[in-house]
Amino acid sequence: MKPKSLVNISDYGKEDILRILKAATAFKANPNRDLLQGKVCATLFFEPSTRTRLSFETAVNRLRGRIVGFSDAATSSSTKGESLKDTIMMVGNYADLIIMRHHLEGSARYASEVSPVPIINAGDGSNQHPTQTMLDLFTIYETQGTMENLTITIVGDLKYGRAVHSLIQGLSHFKPSFNFVAPEELKIPEKYKLFCDKLEIPYKEYTDFSPDAVNSADILYMTRVQRERFTDLMEYEKVKNVYILHNEMLNDSKANLKVLHPLPRVKEINQDVDDNPKAYYFQQAKNGVFTRQAIICDLLDIHLD
């Protein structure tokens, strides 16, 4: 059965993901359509996030839908003590679909259980952000022409990075191979290794940013190594410059390699990489709009011919 809401990337099976990726391809070719004419989408941002909100609102606007909502909980009735349930029930009476970001973990799952209309989770605390994963998957699909049998090297904070964990889940349907590159303190958690083992997904772990990990990859997925994640600041000082990508490190990489990053970037990709045609993180961010168009239409049962 087709999912009713998008709360967690694991709510979507392989067929669901492929359906979204195909639709996103069509929206990228032509993002301006009349598909949402007469529809109202609510963007409830209990926690501010300008980038994500604008991406969703652009997606809706380009399909000629209307938007209601708020960009900050201070302007919503939750400051008067209204429960999330009541807010969702009320907005569900007005809008055809609810896009929400909330600082509490599990809020989107709960909203999807009480809402009369589909919910899209645009981030629930540090828990899930499935549209980010979907745009990552779309960017991989777009740049590689396939999802199957790709080698993905993921670099940086593999312990806390929720984008990384969801990406592993989302890719797991497509026979990937992973290289995990992280400092000792931020290594990939055991549970994701067990997840890979169970599905017979091969992976290698590196604590150095080895040329092997770069040169064998089809996708190099960079993430931030944040100072506040370290219990031992000496350790941070030791590793902070180890996981930085410089342009010359791409010299012997595969011709089809693309470098991705969920953004915002700080220092982990040196500016000299930006002009390399293998750098694809800004296009990746732009893909957020097309992917979100595909997700919104899919949940509203609006199909492209």
């Binding site: 429960s83 509490l104 973990e105 599990g106 809020s107 799952r109 709960y110 629930d124 605390g125 899930q128």
Partner: protein, 150 residues
């Protein structure tokens, strides 16, 4: 051979035996025994050959439903249940954790929606043997020793 009864025999009802002594009152709470009008005998720190010391609960004229009684597997997975009619044990049961635990456990994540909204908690039991729960909402995993009852 004189056998000393530590707790009076039950005519009809349920006897829950081999409860770890430190979990006895948690079991009382999980079964909401304070709400019952039935005759209830609670014994704790009784001698046990198997456990050294144990707790026991006898409830007259009460036959718990599966999902009621299985809750106690959260804190006491090895208890014995004796269903008694006419002073005879007619059935012996073991408790087994259900697939899902609704309401009785608190999520340990202060940022979980269930701790901030008037709603029921819900956990999937992802490892019955070692008692590991996962919050249906925030996805936090909770091990047996971390379980806090609501």
């Amino acid at each position: 051979m004189g056998k000393e009864l530590q707790v009076a025999a039950l005519e009809n009802g349920t006897a829950i035996d081999h409860i770890p002594t430190k979990e006895l009152f948690n079991v009382v709470a999980l079964l909401q025994l304070q709400r019952l009008d039935n005759r209830i005998t609670i014994g704790n720190n009784l001698k046990s050959r198997k456990m050294g010391a144990k707790g026991i609960i006898k409830v007259s004229d009460k036959f718990f439903k599966e999902d009621e009684i299985n809750r106690i597997a959260l804190v006491a997975p090895n208890v014995n249940l004796n269903i008694i009619r006419d002073y005879e044990v007619i059935e012996k049961k073991k408790v087994t954790l259900p697939d899902e635990i609704i309401e009785i456990v608190k999520c340990n994540n202060p940022k979980c929606i269930t701790n901030n909204e008037p709603m029921k908690t819900r956990f999937e039991v992802i490892d019955k043997e070692n008692v590991v729960l996962q919050c249906h909402y925030c996805e936090l995993k909770i091990k047996k020793e971390e379980i806090v009852l609501k």
